[in-house]
């Protein structure tokens, strides 16, 4: 069965969501690491 257009759009949306999530949480982790390093240093 050929893949519907809707499904293709959904896949793009999912990738955007996962990408944004990775960006947001990556930022949080980096900020936390920086704070911990400042506290120890």
């Amino acid at each position: 069965m050929p893949v519907s257009t809707f499904e293709k759009i959904a896949v793009v949306v999912c990738c955007l969501v996962l990408g944004s999530g990775a960006w947001f949480w990556g930022k949080q982790v980096l900020a936390a690491v920086e704070l911990l390093q400042m506290a120890q240093g």
Partner: protein, 195 residues
């Protein structure tokens, strides 16, 4: 007495390096607490779904025992994390937690939930698989599921209340409250004052 012993245990923990490290660290306590609250969703979420099925309120097209079996593993993983993070939170601030009336009620509710779960599983085994096509489980299992939802809601409520200081030992409480919350020194002081 029990209060003195619990306080002594808490004071012992409070002096441990890891306990001090936990409540002095910038982020560690917050991370443990966040994990505890978020994992709640996994653990209670799965449990609530099983209970709702037993009551015949959700997932009625699926076999109830099969639901209980399949969701058991994620639920128990969640429970394990809850126990570990929960103990860690107590360990980080042992004295205040021990003397929190809400924590004490929570522990009693946890024990009640455990007993209810044990009774429920025993009844589940005895009931056999004959009733799965019916929407509702047999009476005893429905009762167990209902009790489970109520008791665990109580666990969530009392757990959240621990953070509030309404009934902390340094507050002007009645003698009975001092005793119930295990405020050993404050109880002794109030008894001396009234003589």
């Amino acid at each position: 007495m029990l209060n003195e012993w619990l306080l002594a245990l808490a004071e012992y923990f409070a002096a441990q390096p890891w306990s001090i490290a936990l409540h002095e660290s910038i982020y560690l306590y917050a991370w443990v607490e966040t994990t505890h609250v978020l994992t709640l969703v996994l653990f209670l979420g799965m449990l609530a779904i099983i209970d709702l099925r037993m009551l015949g309120w959700a997932f009625t097209g699926l076999s109830a025992t099969s639901m209980a079996e399949r969701l058991n593993r994620p639920m128990l993983v969640g429970f394990a994390v809850m126990v570990v993070t929960g103990f860690t939170l107590y360990y980080a601030i042992p004295i205040r937690t021990t003397q929190s009336i809400w924590f004490r009620i929570k522990v009693v509710l946890l024990i009640a939930a455990g007993i209810n779960a044990w009774l429920f599983h025993r009844a589940l085994r005895n009931a056999g698989a004959t009733w799965n096509d019916r929407t509702q489980a047999p009476q005893r299992l429905r009762a167990g599921a209902g009790v489970s939802l109520l008791v665990w809601s109580g666990v969530v409520f009392t757990g959240r209340a621990i953070a509030y200081d309404w009934f902390d030992c340094h507050k002007p409480l009645s003698g009975w409250m001092f005793w119930a919350a295990g405020c050993v020194q404050e109880l002794a002081a109030s008894e001396t004052a009234s003589h």
